[in-house]
């Protein structure tokens, strides 16, 4: 075991971590908002809205993310004069913003399906009860529907966050030097694929471990009504084991 090499690799790869985190954070936040919009469109905007939502989901889940990245990064160059006119060119020339855009559009497709499931899981009785109290419109949405739907969707959304962190690796193919980009460079220089893989893999695993803990903590916070009851889920599980 060549410890100095492993340590050196770790230091080099850590240099890519800020970029990985930036890409993941931007695309997860923007993707989450877009996913909510699409889920609402699909659930409340009639046949036209749900048609658009399902077409969006089909296209972005059915084709590889890397193709989507290429389509945006290289493909939109064909419209360069138009894009320059409307002032979007400085963004779409930059690999960082292209990768962020592709990741956002991609995660929004998966996220909207998760949120749609959450919305469908809101019990009709609770909505009826709220209406009976005279609640309606935005207040009903904010106080009853969204909290219940979010709580339902969170575990699945945690998986999507992990997948996004892994997906940022694809940005290395359009020249961004995040963790995987640096790892690829290091491997092709030293040909010590296994060692570099171990270090890079450990960085991603640590990152994902922290993220799953955060999601668990949020889940705990969002479900106080499940915490205090006498009959605990944990007891049921340990009885089975």
């Amino acid at each position: 075991m060549d410890l100095p090499f492993l340590w050196n690799t770790f230091v080099v790869l850590l240099g890519g971590l800020p970029l990985t985190l930036e890409l993941a954070a931007i695309s997860i936040l923007a993707g989450c908002l877009l996913a909510l919009a699409i889920a609402f469109l699909g659930s409340f905007a009639g046949p036209l809205g749900s048609g658009f939502a399902s077409a969006y989901v089909f296209v972005f889940r059915g084709s590889p993310l890397l193709v989507q990245i290429f389509l945006i990064y290289y493909g939109l160059g064909q419209f360069r004069p138009t894009l320059q006119q409307i002032g979007l060119w400085p963004f779409l020339r930059d690999p960082f913003w292209c990768a962020a855009l592709a990741l956002t559009l991609n995660t929004a497709a998966y996220g909207s399906e998760i949120f749609r499931g959450g919305l469908r899981a809101v019990p009709a009785r609770e909505v009826e009860a709220a209406r009976a109290c005279g609640m309606s419109g935005f207040l009903l949405l904010r106080r009853i529907i969204v909290p219940i739907a979010l709580r339902q969707a969170l575990p699945a959304y945690g998986n999507e966050i992990i997948l996004m962190v892994k997906a940022t690796a694809l940005a290395s193919i359009i020249t961004l030097m995040e963790v995987t980009g640096l790892a690829q460079k290091l491997i092709s220089e030293t040909f010590r694929a296994v060692e570099v893989f171990v270090v890079a893999g450990a960085i991603y695993l640590a990152l994902n471990f922290i993220l799953t803990r955060i999601v668990l903590a949020v889940e705990h916070r969002l479900s106080p009504h499940l915490r205090d009851s006498r009959v605990r889920e944990i007891d049921v599980r340990s009885a089975h084991a």
Partner: protein, 242 residues
């Protein structure tokens, strides 16, 4: 037909100067590497699922470690590991026989191995869940009539596990299909790589990447239909509660 559309069709069509044949060959390559990788992943995944269900602690820990690592690490890293790692091994083997220099790992083999190893982690979870859904009584009955392990696996366990595993395997297949696009970094001329080549030589990236998206969507759509049929087939004779 508007001229833009005519231009597009002559670009991706089968006439002189059209890239249609090349794109279709590349689509076949995408399918070939995906199917081979998926099959390798099924074999390895069944093994990993068996380890995770084993009574021996060491095997369970090993299986858990495998699925945790391979599901938590970007696929691209695994591809680099096999591509550069495999080339390094090949190079040192060739060194023993006196040959020098860089010997590249065959791209198809790299792709198949990388897809196989990653999809095995996902398939193992699918198989494990499916095995746990198999009613204990069925296995006991098979043992009670004196079935030996191999006939029992072939005639009882595999058909029953498949019944529960097909929907999950459909998801894994979609993952594999999309992962196969990453194999283009090793130079294998599959659909994405071929689109890159065509885009570069015609300077029409949008047309070709859009075509690639359409071809991927076509494959996805057809495979969804096929998996739905497979699901009907493996669950024939089952009465649905819900």
């Amino acid at each position: 037909m508007p001229p833009a559309l005519t231009d597009y069709f002559s670009l991706v069509g089968f006439g002189p100067g059209g890239w249609g044949a090349a794109l279709l060959t590349a689509t076949a390559m995408t399918l070939a590497v995906s199917v081979c990788g998926f099959a390798a992943g099924s074999a390895l995944g069944a093994l990993v699922a068996w380890a995770k269900l084993s009574r021996r602690r060491a095997l369970r820990v090993l299986g858990d470690a495998y699925t945790t690592v391979l599901r938590g690490v970007p696929d691209l890293l695994v591809i680099y590991l096999f591509y550069f790692g495999g080339s390094a091994v090949l190079g040192s083997v060739a060194g023993i026989f006196g040959a020098g220099g860089f010997i590249g790992m065959p791209a198809f083999l790299t792709g198949m191995l990388a897809i196989g190893v990653v999809s095995a982690a996902y398939q193992a979870e699918v198989f494990r869940g499916a095995y746990r859904s198999v009613a204990k009584g069925e296995l006991e009955a098979a043992r009670a009539v004196g079935m030996r392990p191999w006939p029992m696996a072939r005639r009882i366990v595999v058909p029953l596990v498949l019944r529960y595993a097909v929907p999950g395997l459909g998801n894994t297949w979609q993952l594999v299909l999309k992962e196969s696009a990453l194999i283009s970094v090793t130079g294998l001329v599959e659909l994405l790589r071929q689109s890159q080549i065509a885009a570069g030589s015609t300077r029409k990236p949008l047309d070709f990447y859009l075509t690639a998206v359409l071809l991927y969507l076509a494959i996805t759509w057809v495979s969804t239909l096929l998996f739905r049929r497979a699901e009907t087939r493996v669950s024939r004779g089952v009465r649905r509660a819900v």
